[in-house]
């Protein structure tokens, strides 16, 4: 609500050794929107998220969070602005779900202090919203893949940041929980004005939930803007090399995408 948050990248470049991954990305993420990042495998989507939260250093260019270089800000400060749900998650130690969620409050709890009443309150609210109440004192190591992913997304929500970055957060989830999670995030965008930036493989989901879409290919932005406009038949063909039909949906929300096969068939 009236937050002045802004997130802009300015000519970003990044490479893994000799192999370039991001090749000149300048994009402005409009605050208060649900933004999907789409593109084929290896196009640099995950790398872009890492650069945005400042856990990778660009070889050239800058990420500006509220006008300041994210690499120059204190890590704790950034952690209060942006939360990340990585693609891969693995844990070896039997923390309870409650303990993992509470770790999301780390940037707010001073060293040698214990969590406050408010921290516990937020954890409980989010747990309820993500239907994790019954697992709250189970060991995370004993949950199923989909349940663990729900915990990991919930942990990022507990961090209570104006920007929430997700990297295929629902890849192991069943369709009901996927829809529930995205509906919940959508509500946060609408009601609290947070910005969600979500890497998505499922274009139908992107069509359902996103206001804006960033389409990436070979480490560059192919197109960026309104979801309906960006997810056009032409763009899908150029970015993913598949033939699709995009149809407006009068009953549901937005539009539908039907796939007809690979382009060079």
């Amino acid at each position: 609500m009236g937050r002045k948050d802004s997130l802009v990248t300015d000519g970003l470049f990044f490479s893994y050794g000799e192999k370039p991954a991001i090749r000149g990305v300048s994009v402005e993420f409009v605050p208060g929107k649900f933004i999907g990042v789409v593109g084929p495998n290896g196009c640099g989507k995950s790398t872009l998220l890492d650069l945005l939260v400042g856990i990778k250093t660009p070889t050239r260019g800058r990420v500006l969070l509220d006008g300041e270089d994210v690499r120059r800000l204190k890590k704790r400060e950034v952690a209060r602005k942006m939360a990340l749900v990585p693609q891969k998650f693995f844990i070896n130690f039997p923390f309870t779900v409650h303990e993992v969620l509470l770790m999301g409050r780390h940037p707010y709890i001073p060293r040698f202090s214990t969590p406050s009443e408010k921290d516990y309150h937020i954890v409980n609210c989010v747990a309820e919203q993500f239907e994790l109440t019954e697992f709250l004192y189970s060991y995370i190591t004993e949950l199923s893949g989909g349940e663990i992913q729900r915990v990991v997304v919930a942990r990022a929500v507990v961090q209570d940041t104006p920007f929430l970055l997700l990297d295929e957060a629902t890849s192991n989830m069943d369709i009901k929980h996927t829809l529930e999670i995205f509906t919940g995030l959508r509500k946060r965008v609408d009601n609290e004005g947070i910005t969600v930036i979500s890497v998505m493989h499922d274009l139908s989901l992107a069509a359902m939930f996103c206001d804006e879409v960033v389409a990436m290919k070979n480490g560059k932005i192919h197109d960026h803007g309104d979801a309906r406009k960006t997810l056009s038949e032409k763009n899908i063909n150029e970015v993913f090399e598949v033939r699709a039909r995009v149809v407006d949906d009068d009953e549901g929300c937005g539009f539908r995408i039907f796939f007809n096969g690979v382009s060079h068939d």
């Binding site: 939260v53 856990i55 890590k75 990585p86 693995f90 130690f93 039997p94 780390h106």
Partner: protein
């Protein structure tokens, strides 16, 4: 909608740590009373008290040998054993936490092999310019050189992955083992001294060792506790811990070096005592959960108790001293199996 405060586990954890602390103090007093010369427990307490308060008149009224046996013979050995146990126990917890691997222990990075190689070298070459402290010094240098080698082999462009660290540790340890084998081969008659050193012992330790290990372990403990919450966050993976405001790379390096230093000092004083650093953190994790803020103090106390009990057993219960490394495994192993079974069975029936 009531707030569920997880105070249950919190206070229970503190209670267990308090219990372990009391048990450790009791164990120190009891083991000081035990030995070839039996000393009444009350006299042990009196002697320590009189020594602390500087009451020499009262000391003279006790049996003439007792004060000497307690303060110059037994206490240094007992305290060294407990401190080394604490150092190995908590370093084990740290290594497991940083390497995200419950199978790691203080020796995973080859520190024990480095220490063993250094000690063997001093023994074989008969170097003794520092008299009694030559072997510990060489052991320490060996351990630190190994650490430097492992860290430089495993770091690629300033980043160290757990897998690289473990692999580099295994490789360096293998090379050093071959070196130790060679030294044993050419050692001839000294080979038994090497073997005995390798198996560890607390015999004839002095206050010098108590202060050396004590200050190192205390310093390490402070560093570990300072970063204990960061270590919890690190178990969520580098990406999440970085995005939660933890300087993951720096914290890992600081803890790695601190834990290695503690281990190196312990090993150089006591020889190689296995098992404590691997099993104690596991045992404590079974009981207290993986929260490092509780796990680190509990592992220190648990390690101290195990080594103290083992050392007292070999010193005063058994007819002959046997190497303490053997005894720790014989005492700790079955106990671990018992707890493990109980926990696993409890989980099946409990849910």
């Amino acid at each position: 909608m009531g707030e569920t405060l997880p105070g249950v586990s919190g206070t229970e954890g503190l209670r267990i740590i308090l219990f372990l602390s009391v048990a450790l103090v009791v164990a120190v007093v009891l083991s000081t009373a035990m030995g070839y010369i039996r000393i009444p427990v009350i006299d042990v307490i009196r002697i320590v008290w009189f020594k602390i308060t500087g009451n020499t008149d009262a000391l003279k009224q006790l049996n003439g040998v007792f004060p000497y046996v307690v303060t110059d013979v037994r206490l240094p050995r007992i305290l060294t054993a407990a401190i080394v146990g604490a150092g190995l126990g908590m370093s084990g917890a740290i290594f497991q936490g940083i390497l995200l691997n419950p199978l790691a222990d203080p020796y995973t990075l080859g520190i024990s092999s480095g220490a063993a190689f250094g000690a063997s070298l001093a023994l074989v070459l008969n170097i003794s310019f520092l008299s009694l402290y030559t072997v510990p010094l060489f052991a320490f240098l060996g351990a630190m050189l190994t650490l430097v080698a492992v860290l430089s082999i495993s770091s690629v462009r300033g980043q160290m992955s757990s897998n690289n660290l473990i692999l580099a540790g295994v490789i360096v340890a293998a090379i050093l083992s071959a070196g130790i084998g060679f030294l044993k081969y050419i050692a001839d008659e000294e080979v038994s001294i090497i073997i005995f050193w390798l198996m560890g012992s607390f015999a004839s330790k002095t206050w010098y060792e108590v202060f050396l290990t004590g200050s190192t372990v205390l310093l390490g403990f402070a560093v570990f506790l300072f970063y204990s919450r960061d270590l919890n966050i690190i178990s969520l993976g580098d990406q999440i811990s970085d995005s939660l405001g933890v300087s993951t790379g720096r914290v890992k390096k600081v803890l790695l070096v601190a834990a290695s230093l503690v281990t190196a000092v312990c090993v150089s004083v006591s020889g190689i005592i296995g098992f404590v650093g691997l099993i104690i953190p596991h045992l404590m994790r079974f009981v207290l959960g993986p929260d490092n803020q509780k796990l680190i103090p509990a592992s220190a106390l648990g390690g101290a108790l195990l080594l103290l009990v083992a050392d007292t057993t070999t010193r005063s219960v058994l007819p002959h001293e046997i190497p303490i490394g053997i005894l720790t495994s014989l005492l700790g192993g079955p106990f671990f199996c018992y707890i493990f079974r109980k926990k696993e069975l409890g989980r099946i029936h409990g849910t």
